[in-house]
Amino acid sequence: MTGIDHRLALERLLASDHAAPNPIDDIEALLKAHHPDYREGSLVSLAVGANRGSECPTALAASLQSNARIEDADLAGAPVVDTEVLIIGGGGAGCAAALTAAEAGGRVILATKLRIGDSNTVMAEGGIQAAVGEDDSIQRHFEDTLRAGHGCADRRLVACLASSAPDSIRWLIDRGMRFDLAEGGAIGGKLLRKKPGGATRARILSFKDYTGLEMMRVLREAVELDERIRLWNRCPLVELLSDEAGHCVGAVLYDLALHRFVLVRASCVILATGGVGRLHLNDFPTSNHYGATADGLVLAYRIGAALRELDSFQYHPTGIAWPSFRLGGLISEAARSAGAHLLNGLGERFVDELAARDVVSAAILRECAEGRGIEREGMVGVFLDIPELERRQPGTLAQRLISLGHLARQCGIDPSREPMMVRPTLHYQNGGVVIDENGTTSVPGLYCTGELSGGIHGRNRMMGNALQEIITFGRRAGLHAARSASRHPAPKVGLFHLQGWRRQLVAAGMPLDRFGPDLFPRYANFDFGDELALRGGKRTTYAPKRARRVE
């Protein structure tokens, strides 16, 4: 993709009259031509598994329908550890689940691929929804969420979210998380509330513009200090363990520090592995954390769990397009709602900046695809013109766009003088594993919570509901698992579900040499075969060397 040279585009921007954009005649056609969720050929039908026949983005389908990385023989000599509750994932949902399970008396192991806290949670800037305002109610929270999700969400889950939200905030405060106040002091004050797009009331609670950081550092410390929780960093989930009935009875982890497999036999396994951004669906940059590679989603699907809204992802219109080291990072919608314009390399506005997110995203992609984007150091995007906004409404930057200011300075830009370069970024997986209010799935013994679960956001997630979801459902899953866990490990623990899975793959004519889960982004250059070879492991899989790169 090429575009108009940055310097030339800046000249044109200065000369621009910022005239209102022409209305888009055929929104349907724009979306079809340019939006990744609608574009011809971007979706395929799943050939195996519980959702056979459902549509899903091509890159995700490849992962979902991948073959297991391991055989029984690979596990020879691996230590076996028993626990009641095994939690996979060290983000907000996993930590909330671990703390609650431990408080309920469960023996808990929390295993995470990178280290505890490395997650999308820590990156969340906006805030967390909870209906605490006098003018607000949990009913409004419920209805706003359902409506924003185009009516596709599971009402029971949304009701659960909205009614538990205030208690989740109390739980967080009890663990030491601070929130901003609008008035008054720490005792008797009122919480600062911001209004999410699509809401009828201001409902987002926050701590400065790093709510997720404040939440994550508190939860991480709580987990690390809790002697009832065994914390295993750098131990990615490689496969789930099953018994003969197909129930989930534990997991195979790989300890990256000790370079060996570990088998954990667990009565309940809670997956809290987060999203899929780092699969770069449709070759999109992402605002997601490095670890967001759908590991839990892939393995839940392989063991038989049903998924929902698999074709629904949030592409945020204003991801950073330059500089490259912040590519895909998010510029909050606040900039556009404050009145900032989007302009192409010709100095023209090309879309109503406050149109629906999918329309704005498609329009930006159209400008870039048709050569009207702006090119800088090989990166292409359009301008988000903050300087013009600041001239029009002096003080906006200092009062309303503090986080944007930080971000711009990180990029080496003075936001009052130079426009930001933006293009859509893959932000969130709306759907996921089907769960009930306690996070249980269609597979006994298997729980899911957080971004990898589905049903709460329907086909569109409201700002502030992701942080609320991880606390509400993380806690519920942790509590339910601890209460239902048996002290005794299952008598037969193995990879029983893999035979059936491979039979399905063969029957559907799917390749057996596409292995999953990915564990790391493609560009991490991680070769699991090389890793196993460190210990002289025999390559029992059918993989040619570095098979993963041949995709």
Partner: protein
Amino acid sequence: MQTSQVRITVNGCVIDTEPTRSILEAMIDAGETLIDGVGCMGQGVCGSCRVLVRRQGESEVLSALACETRACEGLQVAFLDHLPMHRHHVYAMDDWNGDSWRILERINATFPEAQHCRHCGGCDSACPKHLQVHKGVMLAAAGDLSAAECFDECIMCDLCTIACPELISPNHLGLYVRRLSTAIGFRPADLVLRLHQIERGEMVIDQDVASTQP
């Protein structure tokens, strides 16, 4: 592209890259394996990619985040391991509840090393966010809970904990003060009221309303 090549060394691997690239990007471009010491990829909030860097011809070695540091000719980079949790500063969340007049006693008992700060300034110079770590430690050690504000933007990268020769664990001390003061002293009135309403059954959700259709 008009950018010129620069050569950097990362953990002993020689990498040719461009000065517009961050250290992490340069590693990825070069096909190096990157499965540790990486997280938010540029936002600078996760504290995973901590490195020591030394610029060509300079004697100074600085700590930095690899995702925020751009390549330059002759840059030497060494990644730092994640600090394992030592759990030598253990506390319970109801630590201060019994008698919050004796907060200072609790702080001293939980983080006794803070009284022995030797004022070397190592924590301040190690902090990649340039926070006033030492000031925060001094305030906390004097029982002044406004110490919490010094750590508002702390990303818990543990560089100050590694740097501290007295084993104070400044960032954990900061978080301790933040957490405990919030847990015992933060009671927003609107939240108190809403919880009361929900618990008394005065506020419930009717799942069957029709107004939720788009």
